[in-house]
Structure formats: C-alpha cells, structure tokens
Amino acid sequence: MNYTAIILIPLIPLAVFLVLGLFNRKIGPGVSGLVGVGGMLVSTLLSFYTAFEYFMVLGKVSGAYPTLVESTVWMNFTETLRIDMGVLIDPISVMMLIVVSTISLMVHIYSRGYMKGDEGYTKFFSFLSLFTFSMYGLVLATNLFQIYIFWELVGVSSYLLIGYYYTKESAVAAAKKAFIVTRFADLGFLIGILLIGYYTGTYDFETLNNPEGATLTHWAPASFMGLSVLTWGLILIFIGGAGKSAMFPLHIWLPDAMEGPTPVSALIHAATMVVAGVFLVARLFPMYFFVEEGFALQIVAFVGAFSALFAAVIALTQTDIKRVLAYSTMSQLGYMMLALGVSGYEGSQGLGYMSSMFHLFTHAMFKALLFLCAGSVIHAVHSNYLKDMGQLRKYMPITHLSFLVAALAIAGIPPFAGFWSKDEILVAVYQQNTFLYVVGIFVAGLTALYIFRIYFGIFWGKDNTYEHRPAESPASMTVPLIVLAVLSATVGFIPFSEFISPDRAGFDAHIDIPMAITAVAVALIGIGIAWMLYKKESGLATRLTDRLGVLYTWAHRKFYMDEVYLFVTKNILFKGIAAGAAWADRKIVDGTMNLIGNSTVLFSKKIKGMQSGRVQDYAMAFVSGTVILALLFIYLWTS
C-alpha cells in the first residue's frame, strides 16, 4: 500500500483549510472555490486509488481483508496508554473514504453555485475543508482517542457551518444546540474511553477488536451494577455515537441544524458526520459483539429501531422540507443502528453489519442527493416550506428527475440503491427478532409515504403563483445532482458482502425473494397513499389530519421533545443550578469572606475603644494583666 497517498488524503483538505482560513480576506471567491474543489478532487482521486489498491491489488490475505496500520506517537499518557496519530486501513474505513470523498466533492462543486455572491464565500470553503479533513481523520483513526479528537473536530466544524449565517438568531441557537447536545453525548464517549482504557490498558482498535485478544476473551475485569465495566464503557461510547447520529433522545439538534446552508446539510447532516455514530459502533463491532454476549448491541438495536419509527412519524407531519429530510435521516440512521444491533459475527451471520454499512453507503448517496435537490428548490423559490411550492417539475426538470430517483431509492423500489441495502437490513432483522422486523417494515412504508408526500408537494400539488418564475439551477449545481442520481440508481449493484463483513472474510448475499416482495409492496402502498393524498391538492390530507387530532399535533410538535429539553436546560440547569451557583457564590461564599472582613472591621471598631486614653482603663488592663500573669506564673511554678 502507498501510505503517502493515504496520508495525503486528509492533509490536502487541511492545507486548503489553512490557506483559505488564514488569508480569508485576501483570496477572492473565484480562487477559493477553485482551490477548494481542486483540493477535494485530488483527495477523491487518491481515495479511489486507495480503494482500488486495497480491494483489488492487495486483496484478501489468507481469506480475509487485512488491517493496515501506520501510526506515530502523538502523546504519551502512561507506559501503555498513549494517543497515536495514524491511518488504519480496513474495509469500512476505505468505504468511508469513498463516501466522504464523493459526497464532499459533489458538495464542493454544488456550493460554488449555491453560495455564489455570499460574502463569506471563502470562509465557507475553508470550513468545508476543515470538516472534510476532520471526517477523514475520523474514519482513518487508529485508536479510540484519535477518533475522539476528530469526533470533536467534526463537531466544531458542524457548529461553525450551522452557525454560518451568524447574524440570524435561529442559526446561532441551532449551532449552539447542536454543539452542546453532541458535547453532552461526547461526555459519555469520553468516560467510556476512560473506562475502557483503564480496564484494558489500550486504546488501539487492533488490540481491542482482536477476537482472540485479552480484551475480548476476558471481558469482565470488573463489574458494576451487574454488568461488566466494559459493557458500561461500550454503552457510554454508544451514547457518544447516538449523539452524533441523532438517535433518540439525543436527536433534537439535527432538525435545528437545518439552519445551516443546504450544502452543509447535505454533506454533514445527511451523508457523513451523522453516520459517524454508526461508523463508531461498526468500528468497535467485535467488542460490542463479544463483550457480555452482545448486551450493549441489544441496546443499540432497540434504540435504533425506536429512533427509526419515532423519526419517521414526525417526518410525516413536518412542513419544512429540510426538516422532513432531517427526520428522514434520523430514521435511516436508526435503520443502520438496528441492522448493526442484530448482526452476528461470522460468515453470513454478519449480514446485519454488512447491510448496515451498505445502507450507510447508499443512504449517503441518495440522501445527499435529496438535500442537494432540496437546496436547488429552495434556491429557486426562496422558501423552505411546502406551502410555497408546487408544480415545480415544470420549471426544474433536472432537479425533479434527480429528486424522483432519490425518492425511489429511499423508498426502496428496485432497482434503485436503497432497495438493495434496505432489503438486506430487513432480512437480517427478520432472522433475529420478528418484533423489530415488524417495526422495520412499518418504517419502510412510512418512509415511502413521507418522502413521496414532499415529492408530490414540491413537484406536483397545487399550482403556486410565483413572484419570480423559478428556474433550473446553474450547471455547477445540476452536475452534482446528475452524478449523484446516477450513483443512487446504480450503487446497489455493488457486491458489498464481498468486501465488507465483520470477520473481513466476505460472504455471498442473495436477495430473499419473499422478503423483497413484502418490502416493495409496503413501499408501494406508502407511495400509493401519498399519491392519493398529495398528488392533487385535495382536502383529503387536511381532513385526515383533523381526524387524527391529538396524534397529529403530537407528531407535528415532535412529541414535545424540544419542550422537555428546554424545560430541563432552562428551568433546571440554567435557572436552578447555574443561577443557584452564581447566587451562592455571591451571597454565601463571598458573603462568608466579606463577613470575615466585616467582622474584623467591627471587632477593630469595638476594641478601638481600648486605647481610650483613660487612665482608669489602662489601670484596669494593667491590673487584669498583672493578675493573669501572676496566675500564669503560679500555675507554671506549682505544676
């Protein structure tokens, strides 16, 4: 393998970030766009080159894809614990390289058109590069701490990009919320790292994940509340992953994050950063699977399933198209988690793992496409809301077709990409747990319903009168759409199970015909309902929502999760604890100190009178002093 090439992949965006960031105001928009796209292009080519080298040239070594590690010490903690910086090449990291490069390149190109004329154009590209660099670092990480470092960095790039329109209050609030919620989750992650580091003595994925290694054969060095400490560590790490991947109940930041520019939503909040949580669980999959017979993995599965359902229901009721897509993302991420959660380890048992990665891959393509299309639409009509759209297929044919491809892909209609991965997931879930399978298939139907609801709402539906006649976006925006549409339609045919499986050996996956038919039928039903309700503007939808009443309101208000959080943070943390601490500090702690000071002053005022100049007082002091001294001497002498 050519390590120079691999190491260059993250370093090029870093260099771009530094150049654009430092000379922010000296570089014109034209140059910065070119530098950004050029840098990304080189990175992408290198990524594909690496993938080719790894899968095709190097291939399997003794029946499994090898793990290649190249690292250098960054900081030493103790004799055993240290932070390395390096690259780890294995099937999933190579796959992630492809995903990140492809999407990032497309988004870079798209942004040249989308952000045209924005005053922070150069800044925007530098942030994008920072994000891409961090994401590369994350997927290539060789150990828990390295992944944590880049985890934080993607978090901050996300913060900067969500808050890109920093004069908008809502954007600032959303950025803050995203950062703090994920930071809270990262707290779990960090504590998990500390726990695992303490009990296993290493942060290296290689050592931790080795099925024959000491960690996995002796997974219970100590227990806490009936569970192995390693299980606790893994649960805590999953909390970190859940925060980034917007799993219930840490999902509340994702819909708000749509305040960022749309290309950002496509890149960060749909395709790459939010899958970091899934990637993290996959990265530690052997640990999740072997420690305590996969107890933590069960939690992953159930949280994933619930989030998938929860988000899909909310997505049905939202009117902001980006928010619909955000909840859709959350729902699909839930799918991936669910698939990971039900996966086995060896051979075709690893179907869940493989399908999860597969879905991650296809989802990145079609979800990025959906966002970019949405961006294109928003660009044209200057609004995020369904009510301002309708009949747009007449004005924006390329966008329309791309969106349709993506919608079909996410709904799981063959032969589009989503069908293949989703089918594998459902098969994997069905093998493990029927209940979760029912949830999964129900969510599949909901997915088709909500995505076609906005599809019909945007491109069909009522005939809006537009102030400015909407026009198709410029080439810089439509070219990425076309590329991604082609990818969304075709990537499903990649034989993923050959390349990716938990034990790296690969296996043969095949379509389970009855399962596939069921899934497609459910999806078609969903599409059909959407067609009935939303194709033409009819009162049907509103009547239905009225009929559902409370249920609809609840879903529309996102089950009041924001309000709950607001209550907890504002009333309990902010007004309760923080205000309490501030008050206590001024009044009690400082008050005590001031009291000491004041009582000293008071005391001195009192005893100031002793030096009164009155002979009698002195005499009194003299007598008392003499008496006391005499007593003292007597006592000392006699004893």
Binding site: F77, E152, K168, A581, A582, D585, M593
Partner: protein
Amino acid sequence: MDILSLFIVVPLLTVLVLLTARSLKQARMIALIGTLVQVAMSVNLLFAYLRERAVSDELMLFTRDLVWFRDFNIHYSVGVDGISVALLMLTALVVLAGVFISWKMEELPKEFFISLIVLSTGVYGFFISLDLFLMFVFFEIAVIPMFLLIGIWGSGPREYAAMKLTLMLMGASAVLLVGILGIYFNSGAGGGPLTFNILEIAEVQIPVEAQKLFFPLTFIGFAVIGALFPFHTWSPDGHASAPTAVSMLHAGVLMKLGGYGVFRVAMYLMPEGTLHWSWFFIVLATFGVIYGAFAAIRQTDLKYINAYSSVSHLGLVLFALLMLNKTAWNGAIIQSLSHGFMTALFFALIGMIYERTHTRDVTKLGGLLKVIPFISATYVIAGLASLGLPGFSGFVAEMNIFVGAFQHPEIPYRIASIFAVSAIVVTAVYILRVVGMMLMGPLKENSITPMEKATWYEKTGILLMLLPIIGIGVAPLWLSEMILESIQPFIQGVL
C-alpha cells in the same frame, strides 16, 4: 552572573531605567525592550536547559547557592527543572503581551509599567527559587504590586476589589508562612541543621504528625492564589476591576503560583500529609471545577465569566495534582500553561472589546463578528480552545488530567474524575453562550458605531498567546516529555 539570576536582575534593571522615562512613549519602549530581553532569555534558557539536560541527571539545573541569612540558614538558592522552564517561558510571553496590550496606557504610564515589571520579577523569582524563604519573599513581591495596579489603574469598585484581593492573598500567605515555618522547624528531623532548602528537606523525612498538621496549611496558603473553592472569591472581583494587562498577568501567571507551590512545596515535601489529606481537597477541587463552570453560565460581565472559568480550570489543576500520578501531574502542568495563555488571551480580547464598545455586559453586545472580525474570530478560537477542542492546548491538558485521574486505583477517586470530566459540557455551554450572544446574532446598539480594527500591537499581543496554544495543542509530545522527565523524581519522592 548566572543564567537564572538574570531573570531577577534584568527586570530590576528595567525598572531602574523606567524611572528615568518621561513620557508614555519612552516608558513603553523601555518596557518593551526589557520584556523582549526577558523573552529572549527564557528562550535561551529553554535551549540551554535541553542541552544541559541531555548530559546531566541532576534534579535541578543551573543551581546557584549564596548564604543570605546565616543564623536561620536562609540561602539565595535558585535552580530550574523542566516545569519551571516552561512556566518561565509562559511568564515572559504573557508579560510581553501585556506590554503590547497596554500600549496606550495614558494614565501614569511609567508607574504602571514599573509595577507590572516588579510583579513579573516576583513571579520569575518564585519559579526559580529553591529556598522556601526566598520563595515566600518573591511570592509577596508578586502579590503586593497587584494592590497598586488594581487600586490605581482599575475600574469599577477598584478600592474594594484591590483591598479584597490583597487581604485574601495576604491572609493566605500568613497561613502559608505558618506552613513553611512548620516545615522549617521539622527539617532537622534527619539530624541535620534546620534548613529552608527544598532539595535538602526532600531528603529528610518530616515526621508524619507534622506533615498532617502543616500540609493543609501550606496547601491552602498556595491554593488560595490558585483559586481553590471556596477561597476563590477574590478572583472575580479582582479581575473585573483590574486593568487589562493586569488581569492577563494575574490570571495568566500569578494564579499559577498556586499550583506550582502546591506541587513543589506542599506535595513534594510532605508526601504523607498529601496522602492523608488528598480526599478532602479533591472534594473541594472537584466541586470547584463544576461549580465554577455553572457559576460562569449565569454571569453577564465578560470578566466575571472568565474569572469563574478560571476557577473551574484551575480547580482541575489542583484536582490533577492531588491524583498523585505522573499523567495527571503532567496534565496539571500543561493545564497551568494552557490556562495561562488562554485566559491571558481572553482578558486581552475582553479589554479590546471593552475599549471599543465601552461595555462588558454580554447582553448589551451582539454581532461583533461583523464589525471587528479579527478580535471576534480570535475570541471564538480562544473560546474553542477553552472548551477543550482538540488541536489546542486545553485538550492536551484536560485529556492528560482525565486519563491520569482515571488511573487512580481507588474507585471514589475515579468517580470524582467522572464528575470533573462532566465539566467539559458546562464549559461548552458558557463559552458558546457568550459567543452566541456577543459575537454572533444581530448587531446591537453598542456595536453599530464604527469601530477601530485591531491595531498592530493588539494583533502582536494576541498572536503571542495564540501561537503557543496552538503549538502545544498540535504537537504536545516534546513539552509533555520535558515535563514528564522533571516529574519523574517527584513522583518517586511522593509514592
């Protein structure tokens, strides 16, 4: 003249020359040259240290010993190890930055710079002293000018703040003096003469009962200046009233004397006392870490926010020191450096913002990124560094502290570390709150007036502190190796 005594002589010479200055221009030029020489000296010291360390395995290098007071066996005794060298560099850089930030100090400039440099002399002396008494003398030299600097050049209720700060620090040094004398009078336990020399005392086993008695005194004496909860209340008021450069120097350097003293005197000389008392002070420190962060959330005055943030961050230093292992100690020292640069940077930026908007109330500010982009962007970076973002020194320090603290074999200590770790979330909250309210969002009245962009001296001052933060954050290995090497003998002494 040996290389260390220069650190006392050069500032004093600068002060002497400053006495002849007749205008602001002259005063600041002299101060600038003086502090530049100090920075050059500290860089030179760093390289000399690295060269010397390669060939010598003495505990302290460049030692020098002159009898000062024969009757009490007080010596002028100096020497450095990696920790002192790092802290000396911090001091030199922050003082230099402080001179840049005070470029336009119109009011009594000569006296201002003199006080500033006297203060720095005390700090230098403290870091190089190997004699407890000498150390104490320098400690006092460092504290006294604060009173003048806040009382004369301060703002707001400055007399109150100056008085409070000085009284609390003086109270602390009274306690400290008792502790030091306690050490002194027990230093003859090995049969030798009574001595103030740290290295000599370390050879002697101070009786355990005496250690139990004098450790808390010494610890509290030092920890007050390190803003240990609940003795931190001088710091918000003091910082809020102090002029910019003084806040920088105070928070950036002076508060580091606490951790350094705890490490070098209290813990090194009284290991049994440390073990006996550590749980108690860990509770205080952990509480302080979280409490400071929460208190910072509610403040509206920028300086108060930063002061409470310091309480939280320096709480971590003491917390890490008490965890008694070298990873945590390494983290504590790096945290001292990192916090020194970060908080000095913050105060410098706050000073600049105040100069332009005439308010420090975050609720009255908004959208500053638009009007003063350089200062605001630096503020964002400083904020991110402060909340422990990787790539900045704060992350390196905190991770060392957390990993180190988590290596403690006893479970309650590890639970305490989990509490301390949780402060990173609260820190994020108050930092982002300020950034969101003050720098982002729509412009508010105070921000609309056309504002001067950052001037060259302001930028220089900012960069002087920003570069080390990033430098340590990106490549921590050499620094942590240098510190670890110096910690090694201490950890053997204590454990």
